[in-house]
C-alpha cells in the first residue's frame, strides 16, 4: 500500500490516458502500448497498472467494458471518456509547459 510520489503517479496516469487516446485496450494492451510508446523506458507492472486503471475509472476518465480479445478470450477493456480526453489535453499541455521550463532551466 506504499504510495507513489505524486509526480510518478501523475506520469503513469497521463501515459495511460495517452495509450487509450488511439483506441480501446485491455489492461495488458495498455501496458504493452506504454512500453511501445516509451521505447521500453517504462514497464508497468500489474501492481501499479490496475490500481491506476481503476483510479482513472473512479474519476470517470475511463469507462470499462467486457469484450472478446484478439485470441477469443474475454477481457476487460478500457475506453477514454469525454472527460478523459479533456483531462489528457490538459495534462499534455501541463507536461509540455513543465518540460519546456525544465529543459530551459537545465540548458540555461
Amino acid at each position: 500500500m506504499a504510495r507513489k510520489t505524486p509526480l510518478l503517479q501523475g506520469t503513469l496516469d497521463v501515459l495511460i490516458l495517452r495509450a487509450l487516446a488511439t483506441g480501446e485496450l485491455h489492461g495488458l494492451g495498455v501496458s504493452r502500448r506504454i512500453e511501445q510508446m516509451t521505447k521500453g523506458a517504462f514497464v508497468v507492472k500489474p501492481g501499479s497498472l490496475f490500481p491506476a486503471l481503476h483510479r482513472l475509472e473512479e474519476a470517470v476518465w475511463l469507462k470499462s467494458f467486457w469484450d472478446a480479445s484478439e485470441n477469443n478470450r474475454r477481457a476487460k477493456y478500457y475506453r477514454l471518456t469525454k472527460a478523459g480526453s479533456q483531462q489528457l489535453d490538459e495534462e499534455t499541455a501541463e507536461w509540455n509547459r513543465i518540460a519546456l521550463a525544465m529543459s530551459r532551466a537545465l540548458e540555461g
Partner: protein
C-alpha cells in the same frame, strides 16, 4: 443517483468478482503471449505468474483507490474483530458483562443525578430564573419587605420580571397544607401552564383578595380524587372560602416548592393569617425570584444587586448585607459549593466502579494479547503496518462496546424502574410525602449520550494498552512465542490489580462505616423514653401556651414540655463555657428546655433539682448539666452551685443558630446521661440544659407525651388547637417517626455503599484470580524446573501468595488513605455524619486481604499438581 462510494459499497461483491475475472483474464493473456513467443504451457504459466506478482497486493492496490476504500477497510476490520470474538465467546461475554456492569452502575447513578440535579425545571428558559437574597449580621437569608420588593421592581435594569412569594401554612380537614401566596405576575413570569382551568393572573391579585386559588396536581389527585369538575368549585382552606380556578401541571414548582399544595394571590395574606405585607409594608417576609432579561449575565445581576442593597441598606442599617446571593432556580437542587462537592464525590464513586471494571478487563485483554503475539507477528511480517494493527485491535475492542453498552443500558432500565419503587416502599410512613419530591427518571438524550460516550471511552481504554503493546512486539521473538509482553506488562498488570483492590477497600470502608452508623442508630440506647412522645409545632406563642394549658387538663396526656429544638433531630448546638473553680474551658452541647422536659423523657435527676416553673417562665440564669459534663468541668468536685460563664458568640451569628443570652448561669442539678444529638453519636459528651417554658415567646417545639397510640395523641392535640382557634395551622410528628426517618437516610446510603462494595469485591476477586491464574499458566515451565530441582509446591504457592499480597497491600494502603481523606471531607460538609471510627477500616482491610488471598490461592494450588516432566515441554 447514488454517490459513488455508496454504490461501490453496495456492489462490493460484484466489484470483487469483476476484479478477480479481470486479473485472471490478464494472466491468461500473458500466458498466450509467452506461448506465442514459443514457450511451453508450463513455463508460460510460471512466467505469467511471476509477472503478475502477488495477486493480493494488486487487489489491495485496486481496493485502495475505490471511493469506498477507507470505509471498506474499516468494515473489514469490524468483520475481523467480530470473527475474533466469535472464536472466543466466553472471553467476549465476560468482557461485555464486566464493562456492562460498570456502565450500568455509572449510568444509573448518572440517570438519577440527571433527574434531580442536571435536568432543569419544566419551564421556558429556566436558566434565566434566579432567587435574590442576602445575609445580614444577625440573620441568614434576609427576606424582602413589600416596600423593598416594590423598590427593586421599579428600579431593576436586568430583569424581565420579578415575583415575590411567601408561605401560608393552613389546615385542611385537620391536615397541614402549605400554600404559596404569590404576586399576580407569578405564573406569567415563570411561564407555567395549567393542567386544567387557568393559573393566577395579575387581576386576581386585587386588594383584599379575589379568593382564586390554583391547586397543585398532587393536591388535586390526593385530596380531591382527581375530580374533573373541580374548576370553579368553592373549597375551604384554613377558614377561608376560596374558588379553584385551575390545577397546575404535575411536578410544577421551583426548587424547595415541590410540596406546595396551592397557590393564592399575595393579597389574601391576611385571610390566610400569613405575615400580612399589606398592613405592615416594612415586614421582611417575602422571597423574591427574578427572571433575567435575555442577554444579561448573572455577574451583571449580582454586581447590580450588591450595589442596590448597599445603597438601600447602609452599614448603619440593621438589614445591611454581609453576603449577597443570586442563586439559580433552574434546577431542583441548587448547585451550591458544598452540594457540588458532595455530588462530584458521589458520581466519582460510581465512576470508580466503571474504572475498576475497565482495569479488570484490561488485564483480561493483556492476557489474551499474550496468546495472540504469534498471530500479530505473522501479520506484521506479511506487511501490515503497526498503525493498522493497533487500529484493528482497537476496532476489536470497540465491537465489544456494543454488547457492553447493551448490558449497561439494560441495567439502567432496571434501575429506572426499581429505584423509585424501592424508595417509596422503604420510606418510613409519616416522615413525609416522598412521592411528591421524587423526580421522574428518564433516559433522556443526555443520559443516552453519556452512556454512549462512556461505553466508547471504556472500550478504547481497555483496548489501547494491549493493542499498542502487541503492535510494538518484536517480530523475531514474538513469532517464536516468546513474550515481549512479560517485562513492563507485569508491572502494569500489578498496578491494575492494585487499583481494583484499592477501590474495593474504599467502597468497603464506606459501606461498613455506614452500616456501622445505621446499626448504632437502629439499636441506639438513647436513655430517652421517646416512643410515646409527639413533637408539635404551633407557631404563635400565645396559642401555644393556651394549647399547652388545655392539653395539661386532658387526662389522656401525661406530660407537656417545650424545647428550642427536639432531641435526636440532629447534632446538638454548641456553646462555649468556662467552669468556675477549675476554669476549664469547653465547647459544650446545650438544650433550652421547660421544667417538665426531664420527667417527660424520663431523664433522671441524679443530684440537685430540676427547674421550677417560675425559673422556666423567667428564663432564670440557672442550668442543669449531665453527669458526663460535670465530670469534664469539675472532676472530683461537687457541681452543684458552681457557675458557668458563657463565652460570647464570635462576630458573625449568621449561622442562624440561636443561643442563650446569659453571661453566666448557676448549676442547680445534675442529670443522667442521655443521647440528645444524633442517635449514632451515643451519649452526649457534654450537655447543658438552660431554662425556658411553654409560655415563652421564643420559637419553641412543644413535646406531648401520651399513650402508645400516636394517632389518638395527634387527635388530642388537634382537638386542643381547634378548641382555642379553629383550623389554626400546626404540624406534628412522633419523635420515633423522625428518628426512623433519619435512620432510613443512613440505611439507604448503607445499601448503596454496600452495593458498590459487593461489586468492588467481585471485581477485585475476579481480577486477582484472573491475573494469578494467567501467571501460573505462563510460568508453568519455570515452576516445573523449580519443582524438578527440588522446590516444594508449598514454597511456590507461598511465593505466589506473597507476591499477590504485596500488590494488595499497595492498593489497600492507597484505598485506606483516600477513604480517610473522604471521611474528613464528608464530616466537614455534612454535620450529621458521625465521627471517625476505626472499626470499619479494620473490617474492610480484613475482608479484602482474605478475598485477595483466596483469589490467589485457588489458581496457585494448580502449581502443586504440575508434573515437572510435562511442564518442561510446555510451549
Amino acid at each position: 443517483v447514488l454517490p459513488r462510494w455508496l454504490r461501490n459499497l453496495r456492489q462490493r461483491r460484484e466489484l470483487e468478482r469483476d476484479l478477480d475475472a479481470e486479473l485472471a483474464a490478464h494472466r491468461d493473456l500473458l500466458i498466450d503471449e509467452h506461448i506465442k513467443a514459443g514457450a511451453t504451457f508450463a513455463s508460460a504459466r510460471r512466467a505469467a505468474q511471476l509477472e503478475m506478482g502477488g495477486l493480493e497486493v494488486v487487489k489491495d492496490g485496486v481496493r485502495d483507490v475505490r471511493a469506498s476504500a477507507s470505509l471498506e477497510s474499516w468494515l473489514r476490520d469490524v468483520r475481523y474483530g467480530l470473527r475474533q470474538l466469535r472464536r472466543a465467546p466466553l472471553f467476549a461475554a465476560s468482557v461485555a458483562i464486566t464493562i456492562g456492569l460498570g456502565l450500568g452502575v455509572f449510568g444509573s447513578a448518572f440517570t438519577i443525578l440527571n433527574a434531580y440535579v442536571l435536568r432543569p425545571v419544566d419551564l421556558p428558559n429556566p436558566y434565566q430564573l434566579y432567587a435574590l437574597n442576602w445575609d445580614t449580621a444577625t440573620e441568614r437569608r434576609h427576606r424582602f419587605s413589600l416596600v423593598d420588593f416594590e423598590a427593586l421592581r421599579d428600579n431593576a435594569p436586568f430583569f424581565s420580571g420579578l415575583i415575590a412569594e411567601e408561605e401560608a401554612p393552613v389546615m385542611q380537614d385537620g391536615n397541614p397544607a402549605i400554600g404559596l401566596l404569590v404576586t399576580g405576575n407569578y405564573f406569567q413570569v415563570l411561564g407555567a401552564r395549567a393542567a386544567m382551568g387557568r393559573l393566577l393572573a395579575p387581576n386576581d391579585a386585587i386588594p383584599a383578595g379575589g379568593g382564586a386559588v390554583v391547586l397543585s396536581h398532587a393536591e388535586w389527585r390526593s385530596h380531591y380524587g382527581a375530580d374533573p369538575t373541580i374548576i370553579g368549585r368553592e373549597i375551604v382552606l384554613g377558614q377561608q372560602h376560596v374558588t379553584v380556578v385551575g390545577v397546575a401541571e404535575p411536578g410544577f414548582g421551583l426548587a424547595g416548592e415541590e410540596l406546595i399544595n396551592f397557590w393564592a394571590p399575595l393579597t389574601m395574606a391576611r385571610a390566610f393569617k400569613a405575615a400580612d405585607v399589606w398592613s405592615d409594608r416594612d415586614k421582611p417576609s417575602l422571597l423574591v425570584v427574578a427572571r433575567m432579561r435575555e442577554g444579561s449575565t448573572k455577574r451583571q445581576v449580582r454586581a447590580w444587586f450588591d450595589v442596590w442593597l448597599r445603597q438601600r441598606f447602609p452599614s448603619s442599617s440593621e438589614s445591611a448585607p454581609v453576603a449577597v446571593y443570586v442563586e439559580s432556580r433552574a434546577t431542583h437542587i441548587p448547585l451550591t459549593g458544598p452540594i457540588v462537592t458532595l455530588l462530584s464525590l458521589l458520581v466519582l464513586a460510581f465512576a470508580l466502579v466503571l474504572l475498576i471494571a475497565c482495569a479488570n478487563v484490561t488485564n483480561l485483554m493483556l492476557a489474551r494479547a499474550f496468546g495472540r503475539q504469534q498471530e500479530i507477528a505473522i501479520r506484521l511480517s506479511l506487511g501490515a503496518s503497526r498503525v493498522r494493527i493497533v487500529r484493528q485491535l482497537l476496532i476489536e475492542s470497540l465491537t465489544l462496546a456494543i454488547p457492553a453498552a447493551a448490558v449497561g443500558l439494560a441495567l439502567v432500565t432496571v434501575t429506572v424502574r426499581v429505584f423509585p419503587l424501592f424508595i417509596v416502599d422503604t420510606f418510613p410512613e409519616g416522615f413525609g410525602p416522598v412521592e411528591q419530591v421524587m423526580q421522574p427518571l428518564d433516559l433522556d438524550a443526555r443520559v443516552m449520550a453519556v452512556l454512549f460516550v462512556t461505553a466508547l471511552t471504556s472500550a478504547v481504554l481497555v483496548g489501547l494498552t494491549p493493542a499498542v503493546r502487541l503492535a510494538r512486539a518484536n517480530l523475531v521473538s514474538a513469532s517464536k512465542g516468546e513474550g515481549s509482553l512479560s517485562g513492563g506488562g507485569s508491572r502494569l498488570r500489578k498496578g491494575l490489580v492494585a487499583l481494583q483492590i484499592g477501590a474495593c477497600v474504599l467502597f468497603l470502608v464506606c459501606a461498613t462505616s455506614l452500616i456501622d452508623v445505621s446499626m448504632r442508630m437502629a439499636n441506639a440506647n438513647t436513655g430517652l423514653s421517646y416512643e410515646h412522645v409527639l413533637e408539635a409545632l404551633v407557631a404563635p406563642p400565645q396559642l401555644r401556651a393556651k394549647v399547652a394549658d388545655r392539653l395539661r387538663s386532658d387526662p389522656a396526656i401525661e406530660r407537656v414540655a417545650a424545647v428550642w429544638r427536639a432531641p435526636l433531630s440532629g447534632p446538638m448546638s454548641p456553646i462555649g463555657v468556662v467552669a468556675s473553680h477549675t476554669r476549664i474551658e469547653q465547647i459544650a452541647g446545650f438544650l433550652v428546655v421547660s421544667p417538665d422536659y426531664f420527667s417527660l423523657f424520663g431523664i433522671r435527676i441524679v443530684r440537685g433539682r430540676p427547674f421550677t416553673a417560675l425559673e422556666g417562665d423567667e428564663g432564670a440564669a440557672v442550668a442543669l448539666v449531665s453527669e458526663a459534663t460535670a465530670h469534664v468541668l469539675w472532676p472530683g468536685l461537687d457541681p452543684i452551685d458552681q457557675t458557668l460563664d458563657l463565652v460570647p458568640a464570635r462576630v458573625r451569628v449568621s449561622t442562624g443558630r440561636r443561643r442563650p443570652t446569659y453571661s453566666s448561669v448557676r448549676v442547680i442539678g445534675v442529670t443522667s446521661d442521655v443521647v440528645s444529638g444524633m442517635p449514632a453519636d451515643g451519649f452526649d459528651k457534654t450537655c447543658i440544659y438552660f431554662a425556658t417554658s411553654v409560655r415563652s415567646s421564643d420559637d419553641l417545639t412543644m413535646l406531648v407525651r401520651g399513650g402508645a397510640d400516636m394517632t389518638a395523641l395527634k387527635a388530642s392535640v388537634t382537638a386542643a388547637v381547634n378548641a382555642i382557634e379553629p383550623d389554626a395551622p400546626f404540624q406534628s410528628i412522633p419523635i420515633r417517626t423522625f428518628v426512623s426517618g433519619l435512620l432510613w437516610i443512613f440505611q439507604a446510603f448503607s445499601a448503596a455503599a454496600s452495593f458498590l462494595g459487593v461489586i468492588g469485591l467481585l471485581l477485585a476477586f475476579s481480577g486477582t484470580y484472573a491475573v494469578v491464574a494467567f501467571l501460573v499458566t505462563r510460568r508453568t515451565r519455570e515452576f516445573g524446573v523449580r519443582l524438578a530441582l527440588g522446590a516444594s509446591p508449598v514454597r511456590i504457592v507461598v511465593a505466589i501468595l506473597a507476591e499477590t499480597l504485596r500488590t494488595a497491600v499497595l492498593g489497600i494502603g492507597v484505598g485506606l488513605m483516600i477513604a480517610a481523606a473522604l471521611a474528613r471531607i464528608f464530616i466537614d460538609t455534612i454535620p450529621i455524619i458521625p465521627k471517625f471510627s476505626v472499626l470499619p477500616y479494620l473490617v474492610a482491610t480484613a475482608v479484602v486481604v482474605m478475598a485477595a488471598a483466596t483469589a490467589a490461592l485457588i489458581p496457585s494450588l494448580r502449581t502443586a499438581r504440575i508434573d515437572p516432566s510435562r511442564a518442561l515441554r510446555v510451549e
